[in-house]
Symmetry: C2
Subunit: 516 residues, 2 copies
Amino acid sequence: MAGLINSTEGILFTDFYQLTMAQLYHEAGMHSKEVQFEYFFRTYPDYGEHKAGYCVNCGLQSLIEWMQGASFTDKDIDHLKKHKGSNNKPIFKKRFLSWLRENGNFKGLSMRAIPEGRVVHPNVPLVVVEGPFAMAQILESSLLNHLNFQTLVATKAARIKDASENGVVIDFGMRRAQGKGANEASRAALIGGAEFSSNSGLSYSLGYLPKGTHAHSMVQAYMAQGYGELKAFQSYADLYPDDCLLLVDTIDTLKSGIPNAIKVFKQLKKKGHKPVGIRLDSGDLAYLSIQAVRMLDRAGFKETLIVLSNELDELVIWQILSQIRKESSRYGVNPGNLIKRLVYGVGTRLATSAGDSSLDGVYKLTAVKQNNSWLPAIKISEVAAKTINPGFKKIFRIYDKRKKATADLIALDGEDISRQKEILLYHPIEPSKIRRLGRVHISEIEALLVDIIKKGKTVYSFPSIENIRQMRDKDLDRLDAGIRRLINPHIYHISLSQGLWELKQKLTKNKINSYK
Amino acid sequence: MAGLINSTEGILFTDFYQLTMAQLYHEAGMHSKEVQFEYFFRTYPDYGEHKAGYCVNCGLQSLIEWMQGASFTDKDIDHLKKHKGSNNKPIFKKRFLSWLRENGNFKGLSMRAIPEGRVVHPNVPLVVVEGPFAMAQILESSLLNHLNFQTLVATKAARIKDASENGVVIDFGMRRAQGKGANEASRAALIGGAEFSSNSGLSYSLGYLPKGTHAHSMVQAYMAQGYGELKAFQSYADLYPDDCLLLVDTIDTLKSGIPNAIKVFKQLKKKGHKPVGIRLDSGDLAYLSIQAVRMLDRAGFKETLIVLSNELDELVIWQILSQIRKESSRYGVNPGNLIKRLVYGVGTRLATSAGDSSLDGVYKLTAVKQNNSWLPAIKISEVAAKTINPGFKKIFRIYDKRKKATADLIALDGEDISRQKEILLYHPIEPSKIRRLGRVHISEIEALLVDIIKKGKTVYSFPSIENIRQMRDKDLDRLDAGIRRLINPHIYHISLSQGLWELKQKLTKNKINSYK
């Protein structure tokens, strides 16, 4: 698809109906009408055997950078000009296309959002876009694409890191990732829980050093030429004496790979170098890592790392650690020491969020400005949970006396939550479920949305990946252990304020009456 | 990631270990040694409840275009130059980097491959790369990335089209697809089974018109301003009188959406236009489409289409059609007529291959040239099925007397399969399973690999998407119905020739002896 990057990755990286709707708004004189759209997801990723209890917000900076570079080029306009409808006439009118050529960019939009790295929950607006209707509409597809996928992968990465008990996780996913989406996956992995990535270009571009070991093909190549695994290892060690990490399963892990690695490590040690470790990529990784540590320890390499790879994910890692805890001592190995030396190369199941390969984020019109005031917009669904929360909103996170997050509260703009003596938390769907939270039980009320763009001008200074990770860790620390549980997590409270609840009831009733 | 496209999408779109291995081959003087790598996948996608019985090969042209544009730029070299190892010295030596700057491209490689759109099966080499070791190695990650994902999505699309009984499928997936991988997903969907895509830029770039309807937000916007759904529909119909397809579930499908759509369709008809159809995006799609057809028929719109969307995949479509067949007649609707009018907007579950989000394709060294002859390379695995098939190979598809494909045969280069009176088909793992196929039962033996690149020169003329689709249909027609079955498909035979079987046995034995 070379040479077509402008059309495939620029502003036409959007669903076609955004363009036909934008033209309709232009024809109806509604294209400049100020509106609000909200981005939120409806459910946590559900990986089949296990469901997430939280998500890690991700993708915002990538989206903003895309928005800054996106506008209708002559080539884009040309594609639209040539597009004919069923009547063989152009679908797009000249007046719309010339408007689009002039105004078809995102410079009129404002955006509030929850920063990247924050822990987030369903039905809470993570991004609020405000601005002229036509361009706010055209933004939809790309916004969803950027945010859904990166939040999905960052969440998976956080779970994997959690399962590894804060071990070092390296993203190895690009070979089975989704085309160029591999880059977004690696970025999200670095934000959500991976320390490093094997993806070279992406790592360098974000200021990280990519990491890796070597492949089976290296050993095979030496063998095909009549040399052995040992010679392959020696050559590698000669070239990378201080970064020597050897893959030991090309022939036989315990009988060939580890003994040969130990021979090479001894030579390195003699020359004053410190071998880094070995990688296990097949077989029973728990059993093999116990045996590996035994052999390495006996040979005097008590600090070399053991990198595990091969279809790892949070459950597989959890099982490996459980097995090590149970089985190590029978081989005279201290499980705690072993676990500290493990590094996790996690690929496919991280990059593709195996088990649940999409986040169900949506972008919904919530308010329209009329005579300087916001009119709430609503879509009534046959499923109550899918009926949109209308109006201009604020989001608060409420922390209890233990300084743990106890609820996210979606409120109307006008409501002054912080002054209320007792906060009423309405269940988003069930009218009878109301939680009353007295001021005395609250340690902090935090507003979550921050200004990112005001009328096209970026007013937010994007934090470094390091800073994003710190925010993530701080938020994870403030989650109840039950919410972080890998399987069957406790359910975090997402509540509506009294004002929002009442507005939603009123509008739903009106809308239902309107077609009767 | 603006401005970083060169490093993130160019030749550094690779795993880091490819670069460290390439340097090792350079240091060892092996970088120019001619080698062969093969790309193959090991298992069909397994979607949990159901497993594929075939795949549709896809991604080759995208890969070749990437290869043609990929080489080490000054910026790339600069990233590598600055990369320091644990000893705080540069990982990459100057002599390697200057070699890379001069020779770091894919112009020395040759490639044979099975064309896009062909039906393909596990363990059969789909691509054979031949050329200098270092660059053949660096190619690995990007090759896997391009081919694994597109074959995965093309396969899903073929199954969805099959389930729809050759109905029109439209790709709606970009909003939940994997970042820029959405473009690769849309291309693969168009090749595998989707007629059209909503992805505007990608569709235009491939010469297709993107398709779409409108969103709920359009109706909501009119409503928030005090108008109704009817007014929204009328405005849309006025602007697109010959392309009028209305989304009818913003308020209530049966009580509001369809009656309003019918009113608008009647106005269009009076003015001499033909309304296109309606879209159902929530609720019981089988029940609602029966009711919709009833209402549309009664109003005289016996040809308007019904577009279904909302988390569709092959099983959901299959269930909808079954339900329509069972239930239509009780409402006086002819199920066959209804089914002919259905169009399927398939999004998330297609673009992300929900249920199995990755294809397990690998790229393995199979041969190394020494003194002008190919030495087979092998990796022995603890799992017999994962032991690589060694050597320089050819692939044949054997058709039986009914002209159905009956087996894919992997043979050594020297073997003359077409002259054998009886072909022995060895099971790839189990020694006792040998199928004997007499010449008299064979209608055709087809060589599957074609020359794509010879020493960097593309010698293959890439077919149009239309031609690729014809190849796909031809291949699907030549599959047994049992292999195409959505659930629990019959297993297609992938066999080794006698020559390959014997070579593999010999090498495995030698390798196992070599470390004893």
